[in-house]
């Protein structure tokens, strides 16, 4: 289960990150971040944040590139990237729906919202619909307990949600894919 609030970048690496890093502007931006941290090994998580913002998700070749640049063992980079739920090693859908599963949201029925979207998309929390349109995620309390249950639709926090309302919204995404 991955949790995030920020909307993912919709641009997955074209043809993967395997291509010529030098020809890809995003690599330059990543390079700038690493340089700003003086290629310090302990900046790994910061660099992973940047990489995910730039590329949408963390492909293995991208992780290898980071490992080599920061001189961190590959297994450690992979270990860190998979320890934190924020990082995704798989591409996310065009749209994301993040359902807060904090206590306040839970007691106000967030689980039912999750079930409704799981049923609608035929996916489990943490998965993306086969057509790549919608990713369903749950979050560990986004701190919007006052307006529980909270659902983050493409990065916008919405409060006091109901299963029906979220289903309607997601149906729109699934319908035309835009």
């Amino acid at each position: 289960m991955s949790s995030t609030v920020a909307a993912p970048s919709k641009t997955a690496p074209a043809g993967g990150a395997k291509g010529q890093p030098s020809g890809d502007n995003r690599y330059k931006m990543l390079e700038a971040t690493m340089k700003r941290h003086q290629y310090a090994a302990d900046s790994l998580i910061e660099v992973l944040h940047t990489a995910q913002e730039l590329f949408g998700f963390l492909e293995v070749d991208l992780l290898l590139h980071i490992a080599h640049s920061l001189r961190v063992p590959p297994s450690r980079v992979y270990g860190v990237a998979t320890f934190y739920h924020f990082f995704s090693l798989k591409p996310k859908g065009d749209h994301t729906v993040v359902i807060c599963m904090g206590t306040a949201c839970y007691v106000k029925g967030a689980a039912q919202v999750v079930s409704a979207i799981e049923a609608l998309g035929g996916i489990k929390a943490g998965e993306t619909t086969p057509d790549g349109k919608v990713s369903l995620m749950t979050a560990r309390c986004i701190g919007a307990c006052g307006i529980a249950p909270a659902v983050v639709l493409d990065g916008n926090i919405t409060g006091k949600q109901t299963p029906a309302a979220v289903v309607d919204h997601v149906k729109g995404w699934l319908g035309n894919g835009s």
């Binding site: 995030t4 900046s43 944040h49 990082f87 206590t103 839970y106 007691v107 029925g109 919007a144 307990c145």
Partner: protein, 537 residues
């Protein structure tokens, strides 16, 4: 930069204030309910009404009553508008101009929710513009730092904090002054200050609100701490789930640096202090201090045994002072108003105030700050307004590490010791109110699933134990458990509590143990009567 410059900025800021100010909440709760659209609509309405010369619309931080958001408050007359819709804004502005009563629903700041509060940490929240350092300075900001640097020796600062009786607001309640003194005593070529803003307890959003509403307060507290213990570098480790808090912190750090309130030779003293942000990446265990340190070092956030404590050997092996957001937010007022003032608030062993996040089945959800020792009943029933159309069954405090306090114990004063006696903990301040429809076994299972998913996997009791506890609880809720399973559950909980490496595992069984203690009937009912629906709305 010196005191005069500060005062000058404050004066200028106050002077530029227009006679009528509309404060719009732009913290996450209200923003998610079109708070920014309301603010824009108000600004438009002011322009349309050609009142820009005497009316201004400012974005402020959290006003607390999230359930009534978006909130707009009018200064100086104090009118409070609740659940404001953008289309009502013209009417509100018109009412200021003598156009009759506004269409928006009017709230009152004299209701117990507000009147029973004692804001120290939240004193600026909802008042100042969190995106302007001038606004903070106008409210007296950074004077405590100046006072410390220029008029106090580091040991005096530590002494003052010790005398205040302030205890860590992150949950465990360790005396802050003692922690500072430990770090101050260490001789090392480098020391670090870390602000734990990895507020992971589901149901807790105090720190988020403070960071979104008054970020400079936290930075100032960190700077004072750095001076007191001899550190030159600080980190704020903030949850990745709080993008707005991150943005405001970034702005705040930049502004403070530009004004010379962070960086080198602060207030023209030899004191240097740099603050950097570290963004968490979704791991509850990183709220545990040794795990947090590992995470700042760019590693997997797995805790390690203590001792050595971070105060002795923290970041990269150097002495490190870790306090949470609310603790740092208390520092400037203590320095300004003195330890005696602070020690006069609260109870004998728990001084000062505590911010709580009220959520769940309660009328007034939001943030409150009350003196330590305030009875739970006052908070839940008077201030929170109780359960809408129902009765309080239990109050869950301390998140996944805490317990469920049954309604029978509502008269308990909220302080560290009293809550511990009831099998719960103060925690960081989340309070989830449950009503009669909530099944306590389901609640226990919910928390155990949380702990199981968030276990880092390093130590066996937590990694394998939480999974087994969850499995047994699932058997219970599915109606497949026997009394023998409950015995296994109990013994396993005791072991996980005693044998786990860090606080996550040590406290993970609390929700199960406290519900077993107060609601044995509900467990028994599952065993006798088969499957039971889980807690639901």
């Amino acid at each position: 930069m010196d005191l005069n410059d500060l005062l000058e900025i404050a004066e200028k800021e106050n002077a530029s204030a227009k006679p009528i100010r509309l404060r719009c909440c732009t913290a996450a709760g209200c923003l998610s309910q079109q708070g920014d659209a309301v603010k824009n609509a108000l600004q438009q309405a002011v322009a349309d009404a050609d009142m820009s010369d005497r009316v201004e619309v400012i974005g402020v931080g959290c006003m607390g009553l999230c359930s009534a958001g978006p909130l707009v408050k009018v200064d100086p007359d104090g009118a409070l508008f609740e659940q404001v819709q953008p289309q009502q804004c013209a009417s509100i502005i018109a009412s200021l101009n003598g156009g009759g009563p506004a269409e928006a629903s009017v709230g009152s700041d004299t209701i117990p929710f507000f009147s029973k509060q004692h804001p120290i940490v939240l004193e600026n929240s909802g008042r100042i513009n969190p995106e302007r350092i001038e606004s903070y300075i106008a409210a007296g900001g950074y004077q405590a730092l100046y006072h410390s640097l220029r008029e106090m020796a580091p040991t005096d600062v530590v002494e003052e904090i010790s005398k205040s009786g302030l205890r860590g607001r992150g949950g465990a309640g360790f005396p802050t002054g003692l922690k500072w003194a430990t770090v101050a005593k260490m001789t090392a070529e480098r020391k670090y200050i870390v602000c734990n803003a990895d507020e992971g307890d589901p149901g807790a959003f105090m720190d988020r609100s403070v960071l979104e509403s008054d970020p400079h307060r936290v930075l100032e507290g960190m700077a004072i701490a750095a001076y007191a213990v001899g550190a030159t570098q600080g980190f704020v480790y903030v949850r990745g789930e709080y993008p707005l808090a991150i943005a405001r912190l970034k702005t705040a750090i930049q502004q403070a640096r530009r004004m010379g309130l962070l960086g080198t030779q602060i207030f023209e003293s030899p004191f240097d202090f740099r603050v950097d942000l570290r963004i968490g990446a979704g791991a509850f265990v990183c709220g545990e201090e040794t795990a947090l340190l590992r995470s700042i070092e760019g590693q997997r956030g797995t805790p390690r045994p203590r001792p050595p404590f971070p105060a002795q050997s923290g970041l990269w092996g150097y002495p490190t002072l870790i306090n949470n957001v609310e603790t740092f937010a208390n520092i400037a007022p203590i320095v300004t108003k003195g330890s005696e003032w602070f020690a006069g608030i609260g109870t004998e062993k728990s001084k000062g105030t505590k911010v709580f996040a009220l959520a769940g089945k309660i009328t007034n959800t939001g943030l409150i700050e009350v003196p330590m020792g305030t009875p739970l009943r006052t908070i839940v029933e008077e201030m929170g307004g109780g359960v809408p159309n129902g009765k309080v069954k239990a109050v869950q405090t301390g998140g996944p590490s805490g317990g469920c306090i049954p309604a029978a114990h509502l008269d308990t004063p909220v302080d560290y010791e009293s809550l511990a006696k009831l099998g719960s903990i103060m925690g960081s301040g989340g309070m989830i109110v449950m009503d009669q429809s909530d099944n306590m076994v389901g609640v226990a299972k919910f928390f155990m699933e949380f702990c199981m998913d968030e276990s880092c996997g390093k130590c066996v009791p937590c990694r394998a134990g939480t999974a087994q506890i969850h499995k047994i609880l699932t058997k219970v809720t599915d109606g497949l458990a026997t009394s023998a399973d409950l015995d296994t559950l109990r013994s396993l909980c005791e072991m996980v509590k005693s044998a786990s490496l860090c606080g996550l595992g040590q406290s993970a069984p609390n929700p199960v143990l406290s519900t077993l203690r107060y609601y044995p009937d509900e467990y028994q009912a599952c065993i006798d009567g088969g499957a039971t629906a889980e807690a639901s709305a």
